[in-house]
């Protein structure tokens, strides 16, 4: 029905990660095609790189962290989320099994070596936030970038780090190896509420304001597709999900994958909206960990554009 | 090679021909790795007229190659200057061909290509250049060695390829540094006659360095003797008034030849003895 730009390029981090599951599903279930969209997904080394690609103009839309929209506002870039995909960060803070006795809560992390995916990333920020909340100076622990995938597992197995702040599937893998004890789990509603007192949007679909203004129909089609995916996800069983994604995503072990799916089930947003409380909780998180960010200058209303979601064909 | 016009100096000198090469107070000092200075050649002046064949002899290490390098424009003198056909030399001396004392063939070209390139450089089409080069390879006795690379030739063969490479261009000034060194006596004479024949055709100016005094006398119009270095000077300048055309072998039987030889040799011997003593000190 006359899309301005029927074929678009969409950036993502590492697609096989559960964080990006809605994207994979939307693609695999044909929801984009239904909307008359041809979507080419570009895989970048990390969320930051996809954002850079968006700003640079090489991709049209990104599935990435909601916090990016806030940071970009501070940098004078108008980037807006149009639909929420993951309402909880999905980050887990855990300690090594043999340290579990010494480190019982976040407050004991003083002097610990904490593995994060990368310095500056969401896992890094969350760990710092938790420490600040517990009354610790984040500088009192050392943060080590351990990367994603196998190197993170290796770092924990080799005892190079005492604690880890990481995402799926590393956490499930480590749990299945019985290597860690979870302290804070933001994959679940309870964990997130305990931590932030509200939900804390993670993965969203965001685009440049100019693009939204110039291509409203295209954006609407995108939102429609994702909204349908979210709805499907609410009712699908883990088996159905597993069958819908490409086999290589199964971590070489379907049981492990199902376990990880089940654990992250709650993180996927049921409706795609972001309420002001969640926005605030994200801003708090950022200002708590990045003193350079000036909370006063941020207009949270400009980070999320819910109008497309309201018009979405699927509710 | 345009005709030179320079008002201040008449193009025909009293002695019938123009000066092809003039060294004017040329002094060469080498700085040894930024420290000591070695005065190889003391201020030296001499001339080679157009069409003149001058040999330079002198004890080993006296500065013969150095003087040729200066004349070729490859080495800047520490003092004095060089004039080529009356023009002050700055940069390379493009009017001369230089046969180096060391091997200087391009190892990545065959012998034939090494000779042909000397023409190609000046615009001769490749086919023609190869044709001419083949002729020259024959003249220096190497027709069968055209396709060899330098490392597949004997020392004497390499030298002869070098000779062909220089002669094929027919430069107006020829600088030759021991061109016949690694050749046997007979080949030397054949090559000497080749050179003389060529020279007779268009009367180049030749500066010819050799250790073989007989050869020097047999070929030249003048033999210049240099003293032992350091601070080498020209200490003798002997005109050779033997009749032309000459045959490099037969001329040695001439009694005049012997007289000349004896006279020059006596002077030379003294010089060499001096070098040796200096060096051993």
């Amino acid at each position: 029905q006359g899309l301005e730009k029927p074929s678009i390029t969409l950036g993502g981090g590492e697609k096989p990660l559960l964080y990006y599951l809605p994207l994979t599903l939307a693609e695999r279930l044909g929801h984009f095609k239904e909307q008359g969209l041809t979507v080419e997904v570009q895989d970048f080394g990390g969320g930051a790189k996809s954002l850079q690609a968006l700003v640079g103009g090489s991709v049209d839309a990104v599935t990435g962290a909601y916090e990016h929209t806030i940071r970009m506002q501070a940098k004078g870039q108008d980037v807006r989320a149009v639909i929420d995909l993951g309402r909880y960060p999905g980050v887990v803070l855990a300690v090594r099994k043999d340290k579990a006795d010494a480190i019982k809560s976040v407050a004991d992390l003083k002097g610990a070596k904490i593995g994060v995916t990368a310095p500056g990333s969401s896992t890094f920020i969350l760990a710092q936030y938790l420490m600040t909340k517990a009354g610790l100076d984040p500088k009192s622990a050392s943060f080590i970038g351990v990367g994603g995938g196998a190197s993170a597992v290796a770092a924990m197995q080799k005892g190079e780090i005492d604690a880890i702040s990481h995402l799926e599937p590393v956490i499930t893998k480590l749990e299945s190896l019985d290597a860690i004890k979870v302290l804070v789990d933001t994959r679940t509603t309870k964990g997130t509420m305990d931590t932030f007192g509200a939900s804390n949007p993670a993965a969203v679909l965001y685009l440049k304001k100019e693009f939204i203004d110039a291509n409203p129909k295209t954006v609407q089609a995108l939102v429609n597709a994702f909204a349908k995916t979210l709805k499907w996800l609410q009712s699908a069983t883990p088996e159905q999900v597993a069958d819908a994604v490409p086999e290589p995503y199964w971590l070489g072990d379907k049981a492990l994958y199902l376990k990880a799916l089940a654990a992250s089930r709650d993180t996927y947003s049921p409706d795609g909206t972001i309420d002001p409380a969640s926005m605030k909780s994200m801003l708090d998180l950022l200002t708590a960990t990045d003193p350079q960010l000036d909370a006063g200058s941020i207009d949270l209303a400009k980070t999320f554009d819910g109008s497309f979601l309201k018009n979405a064909s699927v509710k | 090679m345009a005709a030179r016009r320079e008002p201040s100096r008449p193009s025909a000198e009293p002695e019938s021909a123009a000066t092809a090469v003039r060294l004017d107070g040329v002094k060469v000092s080498f700085v040894i790795r930024g420290a000591a200075v070695f005065d190889a050649v003391a201020p030296t002046s001499f001339e080679v007229r157009e069409g003149e064949f001058v040999s330079i002899v002198g004890p080993t290490g006296c500065g013969k190659s150095t003087l040729l390098n200066v004349t070729a424009g490859l080495l800047k003198p520490s003092a004095g200057h060089v004039e080529i056909f009356g023009e002050r030399l700055a940069g390379l001396n493009r009017k001369s061909g230089y046969l180096f004392q060391q091997d200087a063939l391009m190892p990545w070209k065959t012998a034939l290509d090494n000779v042909a390139i000397a023409l190609e450089v000046h615009g001769t089409p490749r086919k023609e250049a190869l044709e001419a080069a083949r002729g020259w390879m024959g003249r220096v006795g190497l027709a069968r060695f055209c396709e060899r690379y330098a490392h597949e030739l004997s020392g004497g063969q390499r030298k002869r390829v070098g000779l062909a490479q220089v002669l094929i261009r027919r430069p107006r000034i020829l600088l030759m540094d021991e061109p016949f060194g690694p050749l046997d006596a007979q080949t030397r004479q054949i090559m000497g006659n080749l050179l003389l024949g060529l020279w007779a055709e268009d009367r180049k100016a030749v500066m010819f360095v050799t250790h073989d005094l007989e050869e020097a006398i047999a070929l030249s119009d003048r033999v210049v003797i240099m003293s032992a270095g350091p601070d080498a000077r020209v200490i003798g300048d002997h005109p050779i008034d033997l009749a032309r055309p000459r045959d490099a072998a037969e001329i040695r039987l001439d009694p005049k030849f012997h007289a000349l030889h004896k006279r020059i040799w006596d002077q030379l011997r003294e010089e060499v003895a001096k070098t040796y003593e200096e060096g051993a000190r």
Partner: protein, 264 residues
């Protein structure tokens, strides 16, 4: 000749067999209760082999291979052409070389991973940003060698050529170029590998296809077998390019004395 090259092949196969043997034992037989090469990190030779076969049989690999090949070749050709050109230019213009020397070295020290976003900004997501990454690796290896190679030209041969009346262009063609060739080829052997590394890293950091993409995708889901299969294909593939370089090298360097080393 025949027998010698058969023996060589046999020895090469032997090395491969030993290496794979160690890998197999390390990944499947525990030594003192620990695996020397845990399967989780190293997969097993058999699995990798099966995966490689599967990739080829399913035909899935061809598209990726083709893209990576294109990127590698472009990076190699552009990088070495640039290295040769600038190397020669600098060697012949000592002042320019001296002025730019520190900057060239500074640029060479920039981590390519950090440059990737900038290349994407300028060159987009297509193959060109990957090519650019490869070029930045290849260029410097070739550049430094050509620069040095030109300076190593035999002074006598050079003087002789200049006395012959060669122009700067002719000197380049007949003296500097052939003389620097062995330096250049030495650097080309290194840079074939680097061109590929550049292309793959580029894909790894952002792309939708190519071997680097495959490897990256496999890495995120702990599919070491996939990673190793990708790396294996990658390196098999560089051998082919290197072999082509060697053919050209042999052709261009016929004039060298054979067996200068170890001749008895």
């Amino acid at each position: 000749m025949r027998a010698a090259s058969l023996k060589l092949l046999a020895l090469q196969v032997l090395v491969a067999v030993v290496a794979i043997g160690i890998w197999h034992v390390g990944s499947s037989v525990p030594i003192a209760g620990k695996y020397f090469l845990p399967e989780f990190f190293f997969s097993t030779p058999l699995d990798v082999f099966q995966r490689v076969v599967k990739l080829f049989v399913s035909g899935e690999i061809w598209r990726h291979l083709w893209i990576t090949l294109t990127e590698t070749l472009l990076a190699f050709v552009i990088g070495s052409a640039g290295g040769v050109a600038i190397g020669f230019w600098f060697a012949r213009q000592p002042l320019i070389a001296a002025v730019f020397d520190p900057y060239v070295k500074m640029v060479n020290a920039l981590p390519r991973v950090v440059l990737a976003p900038i290349f994407m900004l300028w060159l987009g997501l297509g193959i060109w940003s990957k090519v650019a990454l490869g070029v930045t690796l290849v260029f410097f290896v070739v550049f430094f060698n050509v620069y040095q190679g030109v300076k190593e030209v035999s002074p006598v041969v050079l003087s002789n050529a200049r006395m012959m009346g060669m122009t700067e262009r002719q000197l380049f063609r007949h003296v500097y170029w052939p003389s620097a060739l062995s330096w250049m080829f030495s650097s080309l052997h290194t840079s074939v590998g680097f061109a590929l590394v550049g292309a793959v890293v580029g894909e790894y950091l952002g792309s939708a296809a190519g071997l680097g993409y495959l490897i990256h995708e496999a890495e995120g889901v702990f599919d070491v077998t996939g990673v190793f299969a990708g790396m294996f294909i990658l390196s098999a593939f560089v051998l082919v390019i290197d072999w082509l370089v060697t053919l050209v090298e042999r052709r261009l360097l016929v004039w060298r004395p054979q067996a200068a080393v170890g001749q008895t």
